[in-house]
Structures are given as structure tokens and as C-alpha cells.
Symmetry: D2
Subunit: 469 residues, 4 copies
């Protein structure tokens, strides 16, 4: 089977050739080191194809059965690590066909009737990515569940809600965690949309023009779990927007994870000390004996670059290439395989950390008190109580803040008398809104941070986003 050591032309396509590929050609051209991953989908595709060929009578039922019975054996052999991968056989398709021939003889050659590697490979890849999208959506759902559980636990835990990385207004940790549930839900939406859109079966487009054999493309589409066949044969073999769309949705999700990862790194640093990660998710230093580094979080943050790079890879690949199939398209697999694997790993690692981090509630709340974070509450009180325009209330409060800054005290520590030098209408009543707990409790607008709203959001998320366990 090995063709490496001689100059005989390729057994599959070399009928009009007099020699074998150059060794460097073989190296750049061979894809089986990457596309062997598709073996199960390739064989599933072949089973559907041969079933259809038999059903419509292009080959006999007996031939169809013979081929169909042998294919699962090859899948098993590959699963068992028994396939000998041979660069001269280029790709997974030729390996399967060659092995089929070894098993059942010349009739194996009937499998490729009314089919080309052009429609075959893109069918395989669609099946693979569809499955991966489903898998990743499942991983995201698991992470959302973990986030909801921790959010429930911390629905009343005060933390500094930051803008510009400065304490802005107090929020609850539960509310913060639920923000990521929302982002992840949109990521899932994008992946589901991508999956639905790619669920058209290209099998039967053949090389590019369709075929003169009376094939039933609706049957193969259905057998493989697609919604329908693709509608244009040239488009079928030439297009890879489904890979780009999948990788874009992955990159976006990776960016979302990078934001949370950044927060875990900062929150768990002794510099902030809001949370601690368990030993199992940190590593030590080879030189500094005291370190517990949040490596998993940092690596999640870093893998954004990888996922973004893959989007650029794929778009660049397609740019300016004429129809229909070009060999360029062979380079579509590594980036999407790696993007999927990377996101999968990041989601698992993130879930591990979400499930296990501990908090230092006191430090969290203390930070929430920093930076006069309830100044807006005072301004709102002025608006509500004095019926003055918000803009005016904002100015009055700004001057009160200056008083606190000059005294080096927190806003809520400022004596009422001092406040009244700024505006005499401020009363004892105003001081109550300056407490971080009242502030948080008061944010009852839809989607707001009050514990009541956070709990409602958790209930809603579990129901609407399918997070019940």
C-alpha cells in the first residue's frame, strides 16, 4: 500500500500520470496528519452515500450492502489505532477507500460513483463542526450553570462595581457573575445559528457541477442529519463561510472568557485579595517559593489570541479565490479544529475555577466603600427629594465629594453639617442612601443589582436558557 519508495503514480487519481509526486510536494500536499480526525464523519458520509446509491439503483443492493457492511469495520480499526497512516495516500478519504479495497476487492471502487473528494470533504467537515458546535454549546451551558449557582450563593455579597477599573457603584457579586451568563447565552445563540445555517448537505455536488447519475440528495441529507441539501453545486464545494462563522463565534466567546479571566487574575492577587483560587488551579514558581500563580486564568486570557488568529487565517484563505474548489481550502481544518479544542479547554478550566473559588467578603465590601461609590445615590436623593434637575444634583454632589476628599474620609463618614455647607437642603435622611447595602438594595430597575432582581434573573436564566439540571 505504501507508495513512498517508488515512483508509481497515485493509485486514486494518477491514471494519466507517469510518476509520483516530488517529496516536497508530498509534504506540502499531504493532509492526513490533520484530516484523519474526520474519519468517523467520513465513514458516516460514505455509508449514507452508498445506501442511497443502492436505493436508487445506481449500484446493486448487494454491492451497496457489501460496501456498507465493511465501512464500520474500518471505523473500528481506526478507533483502535490499527490504521497505518501513509503520506502517499494523502488524506483520510484515500485511506478509507484503499482499506475498503483491501477488505472487499474491486467493488470498493463503486463507492466513489457520483461523488468527488470535493463534496466529500466538505460534508465531513460540516458534520464535524455541527457536532462540535453542539458540544461547545453544552460546555457553555455547564459553565452557565456553575455561574448561576455561585451567583445564587452571592446574590447579596457586596462588591465594588467598577467602571474604568475604579469603584463606581456597589453591586453584588451575584449580579456580576450573572453578567457573564448573559454574554455566554449570546455566544450560544451565535453557535446555534451557525449550526443551523451549516446544516445543508453538500454531498452530491460532486466535483463542482452536480452529476448525471440519478442520485437522491434529499435522502443522503436526511440520513446524515442535515436539514436539507445545498442548493447550488458550485457553492457547495467552494464555500467555507460556515467555518468562518463557527470560528468567529468561538473567538467572541474566547474574548468574553478573557474578560472574566482578567478579573480572576486581579481579584485573586494579594493586591486586591477579593477571592482565592484553590491550589488545584494555581502553580508555584521555580524560583519564588511563596507564589501561587493563577496560570489557568492567564492561559484562558491568552488563548484569545489563538482564536482570533484563526479567524484571520480563515478569512485570508478565502479572500480573492475564484470558484469553485481550490486546494487552498485544504487549509481550513487546522484553525477550526484548534479553535474548538482551545475553547473547550478554556470553558472547562473556567468552570473548574468558578466552581471552586473562595471569597474574602470583607475585602470585597471594603473596596465597594472606596472611591465614594455611593455618590450617585446622594445625587439621586437630591433629585427625588428636592425635585431639582439631575444635572444640578450632580454638581452639588460633586462639591460634597470634594469635601470628603479634602478630609480624607469616605462620603458616608462626612458630618452632615459639612454637607450642609455645600447645600443646606441635605438632611439626615440623605445619609442613609450612602450605605452600600441600601444603595444595592435600591437598584430595583429591571436587570439591576438589587439582590431581589439578581435572584429573579437567576430564576429566569435557569428557565429560559435551559440551565435546569
Amino acid at each position: 500500500m505504501n507508495q513512498k519508495n517508488d515512483n508509481t503514480p497515485n493509485a486514486m487519481w494518477g491514471g494519466h500520470y507517469s510518476t509520483a509526486p516530488d517529496s516536497i510536494m508530498q509534504r506540502i500536499n499531504c493532509s492526513v496528519d490533520v484530516d484523519h480526525v474526520l474519519y468517523a464523519h467520513d465513514i458516516a458520509g460514505s455509508i449514507a452515500h452508498v445506501t442511497m446509491l443502492g436505493d436508487v439503483g445506481i449500484i446493486s443492493k448487494e454491492e451497496a450492502n457489501q460496501i456498507r457492511d465493511a465501512l464500520p469495520k474500518i471505523a473500528q480499526e481506526i478507533a483502535d489505532g490499527q490504521m497505518v497512516w501513509n503520506p502517499a495516500l494523502e488524506d483520510i478519504h484515500m485511506h478509507v477507500e484503499m482499506r475498503l479495497k483491501e477488505l472487499i476487492g474491486e467493488v470498493a471502487g463503486k463507492l466513489h460513483t457520483a461523488r468527488s473528494r470535493n463534496d466529500q470533504v466538505v460534508t465531513d467537515l460540516r458534520l464535524y463542526v455541527m457536532e462540535a458546535m453542539e458540544h461547545v454549546v453544552g460546555c457553555i451551558t455547564s459553565l452557565q450553570r456553575s455561574l448561576c449557582n455561585r451567583a445564587e450563593e452571592y446574590a447579596e455579597t457586596i462588591m465594588a462595581g467598577c467602571t474604568h477599573f475604579q469603584p463606581a457603584q456597589p453591586v453584588t457579586l451575584g449580579h456580576h457573575l450573572m453578567a457573564y451568563v448573559e454574554m455566554l447565552e449570546r455566544d450560544k445563540g451565535r453557535m446555534r445559528d451557525a449550526r443551523r445555517r451549516m446544516a445543508q448537505c453538500p454531498l452530491g455536488a460532486a466535483a463542482l457541477a452536480g452529476t448525471s447519475f440519478p442520485i437522491d440528495r434529499h435522502q443522503t441529507a436526511k440520513l446524515l442529519g442535515f436539514l436539507e441539501p445545498t442548493h447550488n453545486s458550485l457553492d457547495s464545494v467552494a464555500s467555507r463561510d460556515f467555518v468562518v462563522e463557527a470560528s468567529s463565534s468561538i473567538a467572541m466567546c474566547a474574548v468574553h472568557l478573557s474578560r472574566f479571566a482578567e478579573e480572576l487574575v486581579m481579584w485573586s492577587s494579594p493586591l486586591l485579595g477579593w477571592i482565592h483560587l484553590p491550589e488545584q488551579f494555581t502553580t508555584g514558581s521555580s524560583i519564588m517559593p511563596q507564589k501561587r500563580n493563577p496560570d489557568a486564568a492567564e492561559l484562558i486570557r491568552a488563548k484569545t489570541g489563538r482564536c482570533m488568529g484563526h479567524v484571520v487565517h480563515l478569512l485570508t484563505l478565502l479572500k480573492g479565490t475564484p470558484l469553485a474548489y481550490n486546494k487552498d481550502l485544504q487549509e481550513d481544518k487546522e484553525p477550526i479544529f484548534d479553535a474548538i479544542a482551545s475553547l473547550d479547554l478554556c470553558l472547562s478550566a473556567m468552570r473548574g475555577m468558578v466552581d471552586s473559588f473562595g471569597i474574602h467578603a470583607e475585602k470585597m465590601e471594603q473596596a465597594a466603600r472606596a472611591g465614594h461609590s455611593t455618590a450617585t445615590d446622594l445625587a439621586d436623593w437630591l433629585v427625588r427629594t428636592l425635585r431639582i434637575p439631575f444635572r444640578e444634583a450632580h454638581h452639588i454632589t460633586g462639591r460634597v465629594v470634594v469635601q470628603a476628599e479634602q478630609r480624607g474620609c469616605a462620603l458616608w463618614e462626612l458630618p452632615l453639617a459639612v454637607m450642609q455647607t455645600v447645600d443646606a437642603r441635605i438632611t439626615q435622611d440623605a445619609l442613609q442612601v450612602l450605605d452600600v447595602r441600601s444603595s444595592v438594595a435600591s437598584r430595583t430597575s429591571y436587570g439591576g443589582t438589587s439582590p431581589r432582581m439578581v435572584r429573579a434573573a437567576i430564576v429566569r436564566a435557569r428557565e429560559v436558557y435551559g440551565l435546569e439540571e
Copy 2:
């Protein structure tokens, strides 16, 4: 109104400040040169907000009416070019509020109750991008209509269907054009999905935590044409995945256009001479008096780079930024504005060329005959007639091709006797399938290139993709 020439602190947020921004700070911080584009959406948002404030009683009905009546005037002034843009006023929001104050006095300050620029700007941007997505979908639909019309005209016109830029099998020009209708339909799908997903109203998230005022976020969402309010206030002001998703869908569409643009460049070159572009879509050379360059097609191809760059810009922007709002987010507008404008322009230019290109049918068909493009038909004939495995038929045909190559003739010019030296079972009947017209006519599988299937595809596209005029 101008604050540039003195050191007085900012009138909107400078209550606790003693001085104005540094001049370089003003330059890097000011965004009104970009975000003034949002004025209509900003004012629409304010009208909805103030209506709600009045309805729920946070401000009086009279105050609400006073503000609501003045806002459209400001929109009109801006539309008429009468607004004096002032860098010290930073952004569109402050310009509108300041002008409002000039028009109606201190009551203007009540508009910003229970609102922050953080939720305001992202509301504006969502409205803008939602509208743009709809607009672009309309442009794509127009291009699809043009493609369908030309496809109908050329449903029987033979051209070389290429793989690897080599004649592979004959197809029809109509079939080729319809491939782009399919790609564009998926692009529309992505844009519609993006639009639907972003149709959640962030207004009322306020700075980041929600508000203690009893606002009705469902009302403002409804008034502005959103499907619902967003569900988490932190997520509302911190997230921009909707911009990334929109720009990704645009980049993908740009890549699709780049492929067709590449083809137009090649087809219209004297080197191929398959089509000609009208003078209106070419330009001459400043030195070579004979040139008619396909500049529009080349520029469409080139603008892919721009659209891809914007995706990278936006993802990078968001990577690793902690919640909630960071000033980094201000940089989200230029890339999406330019992406939308660029794609709009490319779609119009492409449509202009599709509507007006002429063809050289003879050269097209001649190319289709090149490269033994009906060899597959012979192989298929062998399979059908002799009931031999495709793989064997492929080898026989390969050897027939070698005969033609050695004689320097086309496959269909090869004498039957010569073919029979390769395989004696080849008969006169086989020669008929070698004609490009019979080849094309025989490709009747679903989505195939036979004129009948192409016409059916046109009918289907017009119906299902909403292309009826």
C-alpha cells in the same frame, strides 16, 4: 458654550474638578467627530427616555413635554448643519444636552435622570447598527435580484467550470451566478441573526448597576423598536459583542464579494476575454493609452482587508478588559461605521457591474472545451454502461486523456478507434457525452448545472429569498 479657551472644568461632569483637560487629553478623548453620526438615534433615545420618565412620574408631564418638544428641533438643526461642534463638549450626548439647555433652560437637566452616558451610547449604537443591518440586507437583496436576472439570461450559456483555476467540467454562467446568490443569502442570514440578537435595549442600566428610580425599561425598549430590555445592567454597558458580530458578518460578505471581484477581473481581461465591463466601470491609464482597467472590481477585492481589519480591531479592543464600562469602548464606532459604509459601497458597485457586463459567449464556450473538461462524463458513461466500478472507469478515462494529450487534440476530437485501443468496450454512443452541451444538460441532480435545474433554482431563490420585485 465653547470651553476651549479657558480652564473652567467640564460643565457636565466637572463638579469636583478644578481645571479643564489638557489639550492632548482633549484630542484623544473627544469623540464627537465620530459619534455625531449617531445624533438621530441619540435624540430618539432621549425622546423615549423622557416620555417614560413623564409616564411613570419621575418628572412631571409638563417637564417631559417641554423636553420632548425641544428635542426634534435639535435633530433638525443638526440635519441642517447648524450645530457648532465643540471638542470641549466631547461627544454627541453633551452637545444635545447643552443645546437643550440653551433652548429650554434648567429643566433640560432633568433629561439625564436615571440614565448615564454608559447606557445611552450603547443604546444609540445598537439602534444605529440594527438599522444598518437592515439597510445592508436590502442592498444584498438588490444584488441577488440582479444576479438572478442575469442568471436567467444565461441559464444555458456554457462556460468553463473551474477547480484550481483550471477547466474542470462545463457549467452554465447562470449556474455560476446563482452560486453567489446562495452565499449572499447566508450573509443575509447572519446579518438578520445579528440584528435580532442585538435588539435588546440597554437603556436604564444607567452607569452599571441599574437605578433606584422606578423606571419602566420595557416601555423604552418598546418605544425604540427593541424586542425587550437587556437582562443585566453590567452586561448592558460592558458588552460590544453585537458590534463584533455585525462586523464579522460584514467581513464574510466582503470576502464573498472579493471572490466574485477576482473573477470579474480575470474574466474581463483580454487574456481571457469572457466578459467585458462597460466603460462606466473601468478607468484608463495615465500612461498607457489603451487600458480599460476594472478598478471597481479590484477595489471591491481590496476592501476585504479593511473589513477584516475592523474585526481584529474590535476583538482586540475587548480582549481582557474587566467589567463594566471602560473608555476603551469608545473606539468601537469607527470600525463598524467604516465597515458598513465600505460594504454598502461594494454592494452597489458590484450590482452596477452585474447589471451591465456583456459576455463573449464563444470565448466562454471555447474555454469550456479546453482541458478535456468532459472526461468525467466519459468515466460516468463507462460506469453506467459497463457497470464497472467508478475507480476503474476513472483509470480507463485517464489513459484516454493521455492519448488526446499526445495527439494535441481535444477529448471529443479523438477518433473512436484510438479510444478503443485503450478499452475496446467504448462505443460511438460514448462520444455523445463528450459534448459540453450534453454534459451540462445531463447534470440534473438537485443543485446541478443543467439549465433546467438552474431555472428551478432561480424560481426557488426568488420565492424563498424574497427577491420578487
Copy 3:
């Protein structure tokens, strides 16, 4: 001059045309809104070209003088805002030539002898980018000077040297600032290399093949300040790697600035409180009256996305385009213009902040004491004193750290007796290395953080990097 309202063909290249471009063609094709920026370089190029044409006798000296005398007037008119930009005249080159014809009549038509817009525009762009590289190098040098000055001021100021955003070992603020001087020096190196490499003059490559006129390309190259002429005419008009190289060096520098910007954001937050930015480099909030947001730093961080996007734009533009000139190349200007302007702005804003930030030395030093940051010093003491392998010393120290953690105290607060329970060989002497000041002072290896080494580094940088003022 305006050709917009009629259908007459283009005056420059339309000799064989019967009509004007389509309006959409004009919109996509016109570049003068972007390339007018090149006017001074375009006119300088024309002056050099016409001087040479006269010197070698291709046109008469009188003609050459006539043209050369008129060109500076046009430059002045444009500088004075008197040029009427007309989209029908496409680009800066046609505007200048048309105006020249208005000024001096038909002889203006002799300027374009032995030249094409293809070599003209790339000459202009090289001149522009060469100048910009020099300018940006100057801006970086200014920033380095500011960093050195502040580093000198803080050569002994203790701060937490972090790895993984956790206090790792104490360093000095001066040492930290000098790290950026090193990064920026390499950025300058890349820009200078880029500038040198692009200093080849393409003028005289004409359309693509060179010319039959006896031009002197070495003369024009010299007149324009290039090192030499380019060596291949096709390469001259087809290549834009110089733009890619310039934009890559800019993106890298932007990434370096983003790292420092991130640090300024974190250090200046009340959460850390290590430094404060002056009011002039922060802004307030429209809703939260207490905020002082580090907008400039955040925007510097964000502009990385923009600069990276431009690299992708430019590489994508060029990918897969055949030689020689393609209209795609017209899209090379906006990204490099914006990259240069953005980096310029970021460098100025960063310098403004470096010059003006204040520090809270106590908080900085306090953070340096956190996280047992001198544990390595103890391990090193064990190695030096007991002559045990570092790996063993690392383990002993790790166990000492656990003791400190269990007691909730700092490493240097741990009683000697407790340390000795871990290893009896630890003596009073060891405690001295646990002080952050002795730790810092001891790091005297080349490039290390001891104040002495930092001062030496400042002296070296000023000398070697040309930072003397």
C-alpha cells in the same frame, strides 16, 4: 474643471473613452479625499522629476523651469486651502496636473513624460512614510526622556515587582519605568530599519516596465533624499511591503504602550492607589459625581486594536495579487495614515501622563511587602550560607512561607524560632535579607533592580539611545 455634471470622458486618461464613469464608480474610485494629504510630497516628486527631465534634455531647460517654477505655487495654494477638490479628478496627481495646466498651459503636459501614476504615487507614499517614521522616532525619544527623568526621580522608590499580577519580588519604580525605555528603543530600531529599507526611489519605473526615455533615476533619487533608486521596475510599482513593515512596527509599539497604559489604569485606581493622574488627564462621569477616570490611558490601550487591524488590512490587501500594479493598492493609504496619527497621539498622551503622575510611595512600598515577596532572598541566603542546592533551599523556604501564611503574618514578621522549626540552620542574619530595601539593594547583577544599577542604566540609556537634551 469640474467634470461631474456631464458625460465627457476623463481628461487625463480618457482619450479612447466615449463617456464618464458611473456615479458609483466615481465614488469607489476617487481617492483624493484620502491622498490629498500627500500633496507636498507629490509636488516635491514632480519638481525632482522635471529637473531631471530638463537636465538630461528630454524636455528643454525653459520648459523645465516653467514647470518647476509653477509647482511651488500649487503647493502654497493647497496649504492655503484654496484648491477646489473635485471627485472627477480622482486623485492628488490629477489635481496638481490640472492646476498646472491652468497656470502655464499645454506645456504642463510635458511633466508626465517618462512617468506614470504608478511610480508617482508610490514615490509620494515612500516619502511620506519615511518622514513619518522619523517623526514618530522623535516622539518616542521624547517619551523615553520623560521616562528616564521620572526613573531618576524614583530610582530608590520601592514597589511590588509583579509576575502574574502578584507581588513577586520588590523592585524600584525607576527600574520599572526603565523597562519601557528598553522596549521603546527596540521599537525605534524597527522604525529606523524600516525607514532605511524603504529609502529606494521608484520614480522612473513608469507604468511597470521602465521607459525608453534616457532618464537619470539616480539623480531623482538623490534630489528626493533617497539612498538609491529601486532595482526592478515591476517590483517598484507592485510592492508595498514598506507600508506593511511600517505599520507592523507601529502595532508593536502600540502594544508596548498598551501594557504601560494597563498599568497606569490599575495603579491609579483607588483599589491600588499607587499613583494619581492629574485632573488634566482624567475625566468625570455624567452620572457618578465622584469619578476621575483615566480615559487617556484606556484609550491608548484601546488604540492597539486599531493599529493591529491596520496590519491585517494591509497584508490582506496584498495577498494573492499578481504583478505589477493593481488598483487594490490604492487602499494602502488610509491604514498607514491612521496608524501613524494614532501612534503619534498615543505617544503624546502617554508622555503627558508620565510627566505629570504623582505617586503614593507608602502604598507602593506596602504592596511590595505583601505576598512574602522576599522569599527568594531567604532561599538565596540558604544557598549562599549553607551551600545547599537551590532546589533544596526553595523547598525549605516554601515551608517557612506556609508558617507565615498560617499565622497570617508577613514573612519578615515571623519569629526566628518558628523559622527554625522548619530548618534549624536559619539564623538571625537571615532575617535581614527579608527587608524589601535590602532585597532591592542586593540585586546588583547587570540589568538588575538595585538603585545603583538603575542609575547606571539611566546614564547608559541617555548616552546610547540619544536621550540627552
Copy 4:
């Protein structure tokens, strides 16, 4: 050695840990599957480090010798495939140190004195990339040699010089090939500059702050072939601009190759038929028995996407990360390793094709005659002979072209009488410049396409670019 199956803490850094990493942590954290590639450089670094430690007396000479003697054995074991890779040992550094301990006992623990993995890994990577840059420069030089050889062979072979993919002016194939020699020379320049800039040794920066041991960083730098040590310890462990610069230079070179690859695809297609690629660099089709696809060229074109993606990956990785070392940096290796390997493969494959393609000279020249490609020569003749402005000559020629187009003949086939109806001053003499050979011969400006200039360019390139064999 295997730590996978129990919960004992890490042997290298786990002194203060009570348990082992979580399994998902181990998966995301372990890098040895990637960084084992660095083994030879890692061991070289350790040899230099231990030599210095012994020389300055930090460890005894005997200890130094003991360690130094054992290290090459480990390198040999790895080269021989005898190392058992263990995910629990995380990276190549720990594998080497653990094996060292097995070989020589506790003294192995002295190797890591005054060193951290932070400075160790970046030393390894610099050595690796420096070596790779040199290797790639060698591969480019080989390709340039091949291009020069073929250029010499085809210095007089006429082909259509294209702009906008349309015949513009005749050039020679030799001239066209030499354009790539120029591009590649600049690519080499960028790689050499990158190599020189990265030749600073970070070893001795330790974790981040330098060390208190009296190490000699200049000695280790020299032993390892660096030009000097780095100048700031924080910068040393935190920076990766050298990886970005290397990958940017690779991406640019890949883009250059993509342009030539695009041309090989088009030229070798039966549609143009200018060249043919040998069978060894094409592959057949699994369905179309006649195909000879230029897969190698297409894959070279495609790999641009990969190389561009890696640049984005690396820049994104670094964006916004604070000093000094962060675990994110671990993700720097895969992209640069793959970029190097990909470019290496592309260069070899391209060289294989350059060495072996054959030409169809007649078709090439025929295309050169298409599209009135010598029209500029007529315009130039008018300028020279009639001393009229070029702009006027351009218009006259444009009208002559229209005459040829209307008659459907080539410019040089147009009767003189017809030309004279356009302008009576055109004489018989003018017709001579319309021949493609005279046209090419006349382009004698420096860098022009005349065979004489092309030959001079080849001589110059061989000398100046170091291409002599």
C-alpha cells in the same frame, strides 16, 4: 517520576502546596508537548549558565563540571527518543532538571541557582528563533538563486507585463522573475534585522528583578552567541516583541510568495497556458481524470492566512498585559514554531517549482501582443519625434487605439494610413516601436525590462545579495 496518579505536590515549585493540580489545570498548563522542541537550546543555556556559576565561584568547579558533563547526555537521550514525557513535569525545563537529578543526584539542584524559568525560557526561545531566522534566510537565498538562474535563461523571453491583470506593456520573463528576487531580498533584510535585535541574552534576569548572586551575564551571553546581555531585568522576562517581529517578517514573506503562487496557478492553467508545472508538483482529481492541479502553488498561497493569523495571535497575546512575566507568554511558541515551519515548507516547494517549470514561449509572447500593449511606445514616439507634450501624445494614441479596436486588429496591424487619419504626423518610423521586441529592448532605464538591464540586474543581485554558489 510520574506524578499523575497521586496528589503529591509538584516537586519543583510545590514546597508550600498540599496537593497536585486539577486534571484540567494540568491539561491547560502543561506545555511540554510544544516546548520540548527547545530541548537543545535549553540544555545549551544550562551548560553556559553552569559554566559561569563555576567560574565566578557561586558553585564549586567540581559541581559545575559534574552538571556540565551530564547535560549533553540528556540532550542525546532526547535526540534518541528516550525521554519519557510526563505532563506532570509541565515543561522541558523540569524534564531536564528531573533527569539531571536522576543522573547525578542532589547536586542537580544547584543548576537553578540565580536563575528562574522566566529568564530560562525566553533565552531558549531567543536562541531558537535566532537560529530559525538564519535558516530561513538561507532558504530564501536558495530560492533567489533559482530565480536568478531561470531569469538568466529567460532574459529575452517576451511576456505580457500586466497591470490590473491586463496586458499593459511587454516585459521579459526574466525581468518578472527578478522582481521577486528584490522582494525576497527585503524579506531577508527584515529577518536579519530581527535576528540582530533579538541577540541580547536575558539569562540572569532571574524571576524579574535580577539576582544578588555575583553572576557574570556578559560571560553567559558570549558563550551562547549573543551580542550582549539585555539591559533591564523586567523587560527581559516580560517582552516578546522579538517573536512578533520574526513572525511579521515571515508573514510578509508569505504574502510575497502568495503573489507568485497566484501567478503560477494562472500561468499554468490551460486558460493561459504560459507555463507548465511538472507532474511532480501537481496532483490529479479523484473524479476528473484529466486534471493536473497546481496544488503546491495553491497551498503556498493559502498558507499566507496561517502566517497572518500567527501575527494576530502574538500581538493579541501581549496586548494590555502588565509587567513582568505573565503565564500568557507561554502561548508564544506554537505560532512562531508553525510560522517558521510553514514558511520553510513554502520556500522549498516554491523553489522546486521555480527549478522545474517549463514555458510555452509562443503563448507568452502572443499574450504580450494582446491588448495593444505597445500603445505607450507610440505615445513616447510622438513625444520624442514631434516634441509635443506627453499628455497630448497620450490623447492621440488613445484615438489610434480606438481605430484598432473598431477594426478588431492589433495596434501594430493597423495600416499607417488609418493612423494618419488620427494624426498626419505619424510616419512609417513609428510602426517600428509597436513591435513587442523593440519595445522591450528600448526600456533601458535603470531597473527597466530590456534584456541588457535584466542581465545587469542578475549580475548585481548575485554579487550584492550573496547569491554566488
